[in-house]
Symmetry: C2
Subunit: 343 residues, 2 copies
């Protein structure tokens, strides 16, 4: 994102809203090129199923044919949440910083996944010493803090990225995501709450209560960006910013699990076409994920019962995207290979 | 498979049945080692879901810890079917040989998938000029032909393969697979019949009739290996042989779509533990696939609406297996990384 015209240190939510109004649409010429070539490849029409849809989606949002998945990036945003002090997680808040160190040292799951699929991993540490405020007491972030976090997220998008996978790390962030999702899409707060890293019993009841209190306090806010500030977190705002910046830079996006998808869903709530350049890699075990996927009408690629976050599901999807692009680009046509068509 | 004691040119089905009685069981020590390490890795327990199950399965059937997916192979068996002359396919029978040439020249989907995941591709052309007999008139193969094809399939397994992906190419083989599946597992013949490469209307009705006629003629045979001879094809017999040889060589197997899974299901029918070293990569569009998966109690990894065969789905699964093994092997433990455990 070299063409944004605001200063990330002083940007306002209104400037972000303004930028959001100018998101580019699909490249239908690239999609037409995909369809033309696909029909000539040595296979029955449609026989590669969703791989063919992925190829078309990649070309449409990269704005070129053939699409490429040679230079993917996984961006993981890490932040801390005031709400974590309420005992909503199975792990203490210092785990966020410890896991960031683990990412930097190459020891986390996402490191191994990035190696497996040749993705460039970037980890963005967002003021870990400065958690957001407890959203049951007031907004988690001021509008200015939220806007700055979104602008920070935009920096994950650089020219020449083929695909951007997004992920998060933040002890307490499924609580924040549950509250944000409930405020965006309605329903009973408890239905958006899951076990996160593994809470049970009293902690799980506390988590539900905290979500209900946060939603009750802020839901009248209404505006999706303002709700992101009120109930979200720095990493969630950064993800929303990265999704916007990727659209502007013609970089298709792969979303990860519950917290990541809820962050992106803020944009969907503001404009239902805002996530057309995004796919969701997997269906998380976290029960709110299925709900938000239904709300934003996205069908995840796979369901492996994962619930790790940190961009692990999104990065795992890169193998499938690489395979889709390789088939489309590398296969022979019926005439190249002198293979007979249908009788 | 260097330790088989029979001559593949003169082997009998009884010799194969004898070999089948000595399939090795799981390596539970390797599974225990996986569980021990998995519990120490820097993630909430179970957070990688099915990836953790895959790691355990790989170690159990490779008989070692840690498991590796460095040297996978995709073996595609190609053969022709007498039944193709009855007009059961959308494509003429010469497409089998044309596609084999396409595999050899690198132009098919499976070539691109093998390149993407560094798999060694082997294509086995099985007497393409000599299709099996029309199974509505008599057995497709003699017992000796079937045994020889199984022994031929066993040659796809060599020492030092980490994983074997199996696939097939054979115009008419979904008809053969539907008849074989119906004879093995019962039900209405029409329920096992799908559109294959894309048949509709009269050809689809012909396909159903051919399957019904074949099942009626041979179902009294009863014995699974004899049914394979009566209704199967050379490539289906080779797949069954390869699955057996892989078990003997401690090589986990990834099965592909309908025809491939039915070929393996012959072994399951003879011994319900015979496919414990196999996973099924994907759920094919071919409606019989879901039925056979239910019969043999296998949950496919993904459903991308694919229906190409040629080992494409199985090879696509290699990315997921590589990712699973990489996470298990490469991740830091809580103590390595000084990350706090649950509070």
């Amino acid at each position: 994102m070299s063409d944004r015209s605001f200063d990330p240190d002083t940007v306002s939510l209104d400037e972000i809203r303004q930028l959001f109004k100018d998101l580019p649409g699909p490249d239908l010429e690239a999609a037409t090129e995909v369809a033309r070539r696909e029909s000539q490849l040595t296979k029955p029409r449609g026989a590669l199923g969703r791989l063919e849809e992925l190829t078309s989606w990649l070309a449409t949002w990269q704005g070129r044919h053939p699409p490429r998945v040679d230079h993917p990036r996984t961006a993981v945003f890490a932040a801390n949440h005031g709400i974590a002090a309420r005992g909503v997680s199975a792990y203490p808040p210092e785990v966020t910083a410890q896991m960031v160190k683990n990412f930097v040292e190459g020891g986390a799951a996402v490191n191994q996944l990035c190696k497996t699929f040749d993705a460039d991993l970037r980890v963005y540490e967002m003021d870990l010493e400065q958690p957001t405020a407890d959203f049951t007491q007031g907004p988690a972030m001021t509008d200015a803090e939220c806007a700055r976090a979104m602008a920070y997220g935009m920096m994950a998008v650089e020219p020449d990225l083929d695909v951007l996978c997004l992920g998060e790390m933040g002890i307490g962030n499924t609580t924040s995501a549950a509250a944000l999702a409930c405020a965006l899409f309605g329903g009973d707060p408890a239905e958006w709450v899951g076990r996160g890293t593994g809470v049970t019993g009293t902690a799980l009841r506390t988590k539900s209560q905290v979500v209900a209190d946060g939603v009750a306090r802020h839901k009248a806010v209404g505006d999706p960006f303002a709700l992101l500030a009120a109930l979200g977190g720095l990493e969630l705002a950064a993800i929303a910013g990265a999704v916007m910046a990727a659209r502007l830079a013609r970089t298709p996006v792969v979303l990860d699990g519950f917290a990541c998808t809820v962050a992106a869903a803020v944009l969907w709530k503001a404009d239902t076409t805002a996530l057309d350049h995004c796919i969701v890699a997997h269906k998380s075990v976290e029960p709110g994920h299925a709900r938000v996927l239904q709300a934003i009408d996205k069908e995840p690629l796979f369901d492996f019962g994962m619930r790790l976050g940190e961009g692990s599901g999104a990065t795992l999807a890169l193998g499938i995207l690489k395979a889709a692009a390789a088939c489309h680009t590398g296969m022979a046509t019926f005439s190249d290979a002198a293979v007979s068509g249908p009788a």
